[in-house]
């Protein structure tokens, strides 16, 4: 089986495998949903290109180890993993499916297309009741990617995935 002849299906296979690898800190979304998995570079030795979310995200090392383990147990141990910083990850890399999973999990997803204005203070919609009557409690939250909010309509406290 040469890599070049299998490239479309290899890519599909790898993305299928990785769609079951959860983010260690927000396990409702996979590393594919978050846009951490960039692409597969084909060739004699196929290479999976991944990118970290936040510069100091302590989950980065765990994520790479989890991806390695998932590939290995799917019989894809010949695939190398390479980390790239460029172009930088933004919240716009999170897929629509990923945004919906975040909302269902209780985390307000970042508005799409807002990443170029990382400091934009839009109104966050409550993931529980949908109200946009919400207030910021703390701009820095339980992980680097989140801020803490409160819904003024249903009183639910919730995390907002920050624009980045």
């Amino acid at each position: 089986m040469s890599a070049s002849s299998t490239s479309p299906s290899l890519r599909d296979r790898v993305f299928e495998v990785l769609s079951f690898v959860p983010d260690p800190e927000i396990p409702c979304v996979s590393v594919v949903d978050l846009g951490i998995v960039r692409n597969i570079r084909d060739g004699l030795c196929p290479t999976l290109v991944i990118t970290p979310t936040y510069t100091g995200c302590p989950a980065t090392i765990v994520i790479e180890a989890d991806i390695r383990a998932a590939l290995d147990s799917a019989g894809l141990s010949e695939i190398k993993i390479e980390t790239t910083l460029s172009p930088p990850w933004t919240t716009d890399w999170i897929s629509d499916a990923g945004r919906e999973k975040l909302r269902a999990y209780g985390i307000a997803p970042p508005p799409k297309g807002a990443a170029s204005h990382s400091l934009r203070q839009g109104s966050a919609a409550c993931p529980r009741c949908g109200s946009t009557s919400t207030e910021e409690i703390s701009r820095f939250g339980s992980t680097p990617c989140k801020a803490l909010y409160r819904c003024l309509s249903c009183a639910e406290p919730f995390d907002l995935f920050k624009c980045h």
């Binding site: 936040y54 510069t55 100091g56 910083l85 460029s86 930088p88 990382s118 400091l119 701009r139 980045h164």
Partner: protein, 250 residues
């Protein structure tokens, strides 16, 4: 050029590492939970930057030292951070004064470095500059709250600024080590950052009802390894475990 790049990557990495370590001293001690979270998050961002820059320094040096070796097994005289970042936290106002001066400088610096001819420096800067924008906003807002707050908070932030101000000029000087890197478009010329930095700082000070600190004789030397006494104490805490248990892993 290779020597210069090692030196420059160490300066960038050590600034972030030392300030990240300083800020993490607040973890569990901040006056409010929200502040505790903010400072821990800022510290984490800085340590992340340091990891990338020290990795670059180690790879350029090719002497088998990775980011951890450079962070945990280098002695104080080999650190290349500016003196500002190693200053003690003092009270919360002094910590914020230091952050205010540093983050506004770092944001301008990283904005320039996104155009660096070195692809690693450009990539790290492009990634980190968005995070540093958050640090600036946090520090700028606290300067206003403290300066325009109570009589007590006003006095404390004035004193914090007074202490930190003598270390500002060091952020904007250059030396023969990096001149060639500036010419080659790898390093940013720090002198060019001063006008906009001044503008930003003085605008925030004005809305914080704070006077501009009086000019002081600048204290410098960090880039050549001449540090204040505080850095050694910081490193003794940070480096104790990896030095006491070499090769220990989680």
């Amino acid at each position: 050029m290779r020597e210069g790049l090692i030196e420059y990557a160490l300066r960038l990495g050590d600034d972030s590492l030392v300030l990240g370590q300083r800020l993490s001293e607040w973890c569990g001690h901040a006056p409010m939970l929200e502040i505790d979270l903010s400072l821990a998050n800022v510290a984490l961002d800085l340590v992340g930057q340091a990891t990338h820059f020290l990795k670059l320094a180690g790879e350029t040096e090719s002497a088998g030292r990775d980011a951890d070796a450079l962070a945990f097994r280098r002695d104080v005289l080999d650190f290349r951070n500016c003196l500002l970042v190693e200053q003690p936290n003092g009270d919360f106002a002094q910590t914020m004064a230091r952050q205010f001066l540093f983050s506004n400088w770092q944001e301008l610096l990283f904005r320039e470095l996104t155009h660096s001819q070195n692809p690693v420096i450009a990539a790290v800067a492009a990634k980190a500059v968005k995070e540093v924008a958050y640090h600036c906003r946090l520090a700028n807002e606290w300067m206003v709250r403290l300066g325009d707050g109570t009589a007590d908070s006003h006095v404390r932030v004035v004193e914090g600024l007074e202490w930190m101000w003598r270390f500002v000029d060091e952020l904007f000087v250059t030396d023969s080590e990096i001149e060639r890197l500036i010419e080659a478009g790898i390093a940013a010329d720090p002198r060019g950052l001063r006008p906009e930095w001044d503008l930003r700082i003085y605008q925030v000070l004005a809305s914080a009802t704070l006077d501009r600190p009086k000019p002081r004789r600048a204290v410098m030397g960090g880039r050549r390894g001449h540090h204040t006494e505080h850095l050694g104490h910081l490193l003794s805490g940070m480096q104790f475990l990896p030095r006491a248990y070499p090769g220990a892993i989680w």
